[in-house]
């Protein structure tokens, strides 16, 4: 089957059938297998959220004991778990709000201004890169060192400080990517029509960069609600959801953990599919 370098225009590969086999069969099959591999544990999680427990402890076991939807009815029966879940939601909302405002401001500064007018721009770029690439355990441990050194009690406040710290860089990067094609002539037009800087910002700039800001906020929320490593160092008395679940692995996991996992997954994937559908309709 070795046809020597046949110069074709549309399909440059020589053995067409061989190429088709790769693109049409081997690669798609492989890719679907990888997708199955990625999805499989999630199916296992949903599966185990319907598993009956043995004994009076109400903890999940590896073996299958029969179907029940009991844990969905009693989703809030584990006080520590429910409290940690709501704490995580509050923490994510507060830190997302702060990180989105600060990160967007930084992104605007980085896109609009260059070194003669904005000295230190390069330093900011380096710090953002370092912040994204640095190992989280080092950031968490060093923050713990800071709070211990200055005798700052660990709790909700220290969690917010930390979550904003590691979210800012992601918000900045996301917003800046969307800001790159921003047409400053629109702002000039607003000024020419007599708008004050405040009005220009709220009526012209903000609506235009809103999709980027929203994407940055979603990123910050997702990172915050899923954070374990840093939160584990800093939680103290207020325990976020991932830290509570991790602590539970030592004593036994109540099945409600999988109910919460399934709920978070369903909400998240629902939003994602919705955004894809909306984007396709627009296109």
């Amino acid at each position: 089957m070795t046809v020597l370098d046949q110069p074709t225009v549309s399909t440059p590969e020589s053995p067409v059938s061989k190429r088709r086999r790769w693109a049409r069969f081997v690669l798609p099959t492989y890719s679907w297998l990888v997708i199955a591999y990625l999805v499989f544990p999630i199916i296992v999680m949903i599966f185990y959220s319907f598993n009956k427990t043995i004994g009076s402890m109400q903890l999940v076991s590896f073996s299958w004991n029969g179907f029940t939807s009991q844990w969905y009815h009693q989703w809030s029966n584990v006080p520590g778990l429910t409290a940690s879940f709501w704490l995580s939601i509050r923490l994510a909302l507060v830190s997302t709000l702060i990180a989105t405002v600060l990160g967007t401001m930084l992104a605007i500064a980085l896109v609009r201004y260059r070194p003669p007018r904005f000295r230190g721009k390069g330093a900011f770029e380096q710090v953002i890169f370092l912040n994204i690439a640095a190992p989280e355990i080092v950031m968490g441990a060093s923050l713990l060192g800071l709070f211990v050194t200055f005798n700052i009690g660990r709790g909700f406040l220290t969690l917010v400080l930390a979550h904003v710290m590691f979210s800012i860089a992601y918000v900045t990067v996301t917003v800046r990517a969307r800001l790159a094609g921003f047409d400053t002539a629109l702002e000039e037009a607003a000024y020419d029509l007599g708008a004050t800087p405040a009005v220009t910002f709220t009526r012209v700039t903000l609506p235009l960069i809103m999709p980027g800001v929203l994407a940055g906020a979603l990123m910050a929320f997702a990172i915050s609600i899923d954070d374990f490593v840093t939160s584990n160092f800093l939680s103290g008395t207020s325990v976020p959801f991932p830290v509570w679940v991790y602590g539970a692995t030592r004593v036994g996991i109540p099945p409600q953990v999988f109910v919460f996992g399934t709920a978070i997954f369903t909400v998240g994937i629902g939003f994602a599919i919705l955004s894809i559908v909306l984007a396709r309709k627009k296109a």
Binding site: V34, M139, P242, V257
Partner: protein, 303 residues
């Protein structure tokens, strides 16, 4: 206007000049809050940690005194070099596995994804919709002796009854590989997607075979993506301890577990700080190499 307020008037700042000052300050005012936040809660703690590792702390009171005690590093290294090697080995192996698994699917989505590209990308990201800790726990269920997979395989006698994975190094590497796969696949996809198809067509027009086109056009253009994937996967894996704690046994401790224990259990802050410092230096080597070769801003394209 000029006459009303002379330029050297002591307190005379016209609205116009005020605006000009405001404009000059704008970039600094915009970046000040984030800058302070990152300085005080990211850079200062890192420096503080480095200094902490040179201090001696009394185990009873927890008070630390600066002693320029470099010996902490050598004693920690001699105590925990095995954990460093284990972390290095697990992270490297799992990163390579991830690169091998995700390259073909990233290639397929980038070149043959068509209209369903977004759907396939969502499928790549699907693990992120489940909390990291829960994902790891679910792997414990997948790999458990009597769990859904091994239990079923043993039931139909495909596996011997004594077979087990949980508690071994393979379980830890499997967990790491699963948890960080999207971090590898996405940068690869971005790099492949950005390849200008005309370059590839030019190669074919010049009689390059499919294989030559792949090796001489696609691969070289994907190298930055591979490097970004390596950075974004390897560094977090290297410091990870959740997978080892949940899926591993007692013999394959990673360095993250040691650091976490020193800070939270034994309260040996100086020891934990020096181990973190070593971990940071290892990570910084990769980070600087990346910034040097590809520029620090390029990482943003792959996030």
């Amino acid at each position: 206007m000029e006459q009303l307020v002379p330029p050297d008037h002591p307190g005379g700042v016209t609205p116009r000049r005020k605006r000009r000052v405001g404009r000059a300050l704008a970039p600094y005012l915009l970046s000040l809050p984030s800058g302070l936040w990152l300085l005080l809660l990211f850079l200062v703690p890192l420096v503080l940690m480095l200094s902490l590792s040179l201090k001696t702390c009394s185990p009873s009171t927890g008070a630390c005194v600066m002693a320029w005690h470099w010996g902490e590093f050598s004693s920690e290294v001699s105590l925990y070099h095995q954990e460093f090697i284990t972390s290095l080995y697990f992270a490297a192996a799992a990163t390579v596995v991830d690169l091998i698994i995700s390259f073909p699917i990233a290639y397929w989505i980038a070149f043959y994804g068509g209209r369903r590209k977004n759907f396939f990308l969502l499928m790549l990201l699907v693990p992120f919709f489940v909390s990291f800790v829960i994902r790891t726990i679910v792997w414990e269920f997948v790999l458990a002796n009597n769990g859904v997979v091994l239990g079923a395989l043993k039931h139909i006698h495909l596996l011997p009854q004594g077979f087990h994975i949980l508690g071994t190094s393979y379980a830890v590497m499997a967990g790491l590989a699963y948890n960080y796969l999207p971090f590898t696949a996405l940068p690869l996809y971005v790099a492949l997607e950005r390849i200008d198809r005309r370059v590839l067509e030019a190669a074919y027009d010049l009689y390059a075979t499919k294989r030559v086109g792949f090796m001489k056009v696609i691969m070289p253009l994907t190298v930055p993506g591979i490097f970004a994937a390596f950075l974004l996967t390897f560094i977090p894996m290297f410091g990870d301890y959740v997978n080892q704690e949940i899926l591993g046994g007692t013999s394959n401790t990673m360095i993250g577990t040691v650091i976490q224990n020193q800070f939270l259990v034994t309260l040996d802050y100086a020891g934990g700080a020096s181990l973190s410092a070593i971990l940071l230096v290892v990570a910084l080597l990769g980070i600087f190499l990346y910034a040097r070769l590809l520029g620090s801003r390029t990482i943003e394209q792959y996030l």
